[in-house]
Amino acid sequence: MRIVIAEDLLLLRDGLIRILTDTGHEVLAAVDNAPDLERAVAEHRPDLSIVDVRLPPGFRDEGLRAALAIRAEHPGAPVLILSQYVERSYAVDLLADGDGAVGYLLKDRVTSLDDFLDAIDRVAAGGTAMDPEVVRQLFARNTRDRGVAALTVREREVLALVAEGLSNSAICAALSLAAVSVEKHITNILAKLDLPPDADSHRRVRAVLAYLNH
């Protein structure tokens, strides 16, 4: 796919370009600051933007804010945020517009190449890729939630993977479960959380994340 990268550290920018080109993707532009990113996205309309949270000039969360600006300008433009640490509140900001096609991963995840490639495919296809760390933080907020408390251990595991944005088949592979039992778990989970059953997995992920974020 056609990708734009925003990463201020040369080392990582080059690393990302190598990984993406080696795996058959096309890097249209690799920039090192937020304004250039917004320009590059407007110019190329890429299938995916991969953005570092910290960008010059402030080195705080300019990358995230640029991503939000891009999403406001081009609704649904797929954006994957990479960071060296994850914060739940950043995920909340990304998910806020409800358009999907967002991801938020630790930079470490890039080294697990297959998972990373899977994640960018999901985001580009309009899905969600949430770092397990983010999901853990979301769960931590919901310790007193009656719906979450009613889940079995296995259901929690499944819910965590759903929240990360994995498809049913990926969840089957991750937990070594049969497709039927995964579907059964998901039906139970949605019932316990009082969420409508939804065949569209992207919408389902968003509903789950919204629930955990409330």
Partner: protein, 410 residues
């Protein structure tokens, strides 16, 4: 020696005219103020008189600073705004006003005799020492018999010169002693009193401490950023390279190198996780990015216990206070999970009236925490460095409440 003595002489000599002025002014102003005291004009008169008295006292401070080489701090409070009566009352209450008056009154009986006592021996010593140069020009037909040989003969004049030279050091010492005495007393009365000095010292210490604390917070932020842009980025890049290598080896599933590459990649992941943990311990990145409440949210997410977090929407406190508050919560949550066997915790932050911040962490564990334990002690030092107070209540059987209060007026 000669220079110092000259300066001391100048100091003492200059004291005399000021002393006469001071005496005159003390008498005039006292009479005026006594006469005007029962009238409406009293406050205005007091303010006017103070202007003159303070000018004299300022000159005295300059004279003392010039002599001693150490400037004297000005003890006056900043002028208060408001009606004449209020300003006059404030001036009247100031210790410096009374001390000025005390010095001006002391000056005449002190400085005038000092000047005379200093000048006479000095002139005597100088006169004798220089006798051969001028004594011959003074006609002394009626010189007493005792003095005549000294005055009238060269050997006599030479002897006088020797005597004068011998007297000179004694005279100089005498002059210096007199000057030192006057200067000592002057400094006592003209400088800020002890309480003012202590207040100023406390203010200075508070400022420098705040600076140290801010510098430390800035240093930790810098370290966090350097790791982020340096070591952490390098390790991620190395991981990317390994991931690509691993991918290239896929065509050879039996190659033993694959296992090593995979292991190396996992080891790097472990290193990254550890670095992240370390950085979070030094200065959580989210504090840099988004401030305290977001950072606390991340913190409770890491806690194995269910935590209720209550944070006001607006916690605008200095970075050093943010970091300290963060670590108070961090340490308390760790203890609750590790040692207290708590089931749940409550973390409450609240702003105080003076723009300060209180942090309270309560758990329902078994209590019995040792407030002097290493973790809590380190925490106490961190909090106290900011002028804050850390208190730990942990009766046996619980609950444990760790609270910190920070004044944010730094």
């Amino acid at each position: 020696m000669i220079g110092r003595t000259g300066r001391a002489l100048g100091y003492l000599a200059l004291g005399a005219p000021v002393a006469i002025l001071a005496l005159a002014w003390t008498l005039v102003s006292s009479i005026l103020l006594l006469l005007l005291a029962p009238t409406q004009l009293a406050p205005r008169a007091l303010l006017g008189a103070t202007v003159v008295s303070r000018s004299l006292a300022r000159f005295e401070r300059w004279r003392l600073g010039w002599y001693s080489g150490r400037p004297v701090a000005v003890p006056y409070q900043p002028t208060v705004a408001g009606p004449v009566r209020v300003r006059a009352a404030a001036v009247f209450r100031e210790p410096a006003t009374r001390r000025d008056a005390g010095w001006l009154a002391t000056l005449f009986p002190l400085a005038l005799p000092s000047m005379l006592l200093a000048l006479v021996p000095t002139l005597l010593a100088v006169g004798l020492a220089t006798a051969p140069a001028w004594l011959w020009a003074v006609p002394n037909p009626n010189a007493p018999e005792l003095v005549a040989p000294i005055v009238g003969t060269w050997p006599g004049r030479a002897a006088a010169a020797v005597l004068g030279l011998a007297l000179a050091p004694l005279a100089a010492r005498w002059v210096l002693t007199l000057a030192r005495g006057q200067a000592g007393l002057a400094r006592l009365l003209l400088r800020p009193d002890d309480r003012q000095q202590l207040t100023a010292l406390a203010a200075r210490l508070a400022t420098t401490r705040a600076r140290v604390v801010d510098a430390q917070a800035a240093e930790l932020r810098r370290i966090e950023r350097d790791l982020h842009d340096g070591a952490q980025a390098r390790i991620v890049a190395a991981g990317m390279t390994l991931a690509l290598a691993d991918r290239k080896l896929r065509g050879r599933p039996d190659d033993p190198v694959r296992a090593d590459v995979e292991l190396a990649r996992r080891q790097l992941d472990g290193a990254l996780a550890e670095l992240r943990h370390l950085v979070r311990g030094a200065h959580p990145p989210i504090l840099t990015d988004r401030g305290l409440s977001a950072a606390l949210g991340a913190l409770i997410a890491d806690s194995p216990l269910p935590v209720d977090l209550r944070v006001p929407d607006d916690t605008s406190v200095p970075p050093a206070v943010e970091a300290a508050a963060y670590f108070v919560v961090s340490e308390a949550l760790t203890n609750a999970a590790k040692h207290a066997g708590a089931q749940r915790c409550e973390v409450t932050l609240a702003g105080t009236a003076g723009g300060g911040l209180t942090v309270q962490v309560r758990d329902d564990g078994r209590g019995g925490a040792d407030p002097a334990g290493a973790g809590l002690d380190g925490l106490r030092r961190r909090v106290e460095a900011l002028d804050g107070i850390l208190s730990v209540q942990s009766p046996a059987g619980g609950p444990t409440v760790v609270s910190a209060e920070f004044p944010c007026a730094s």
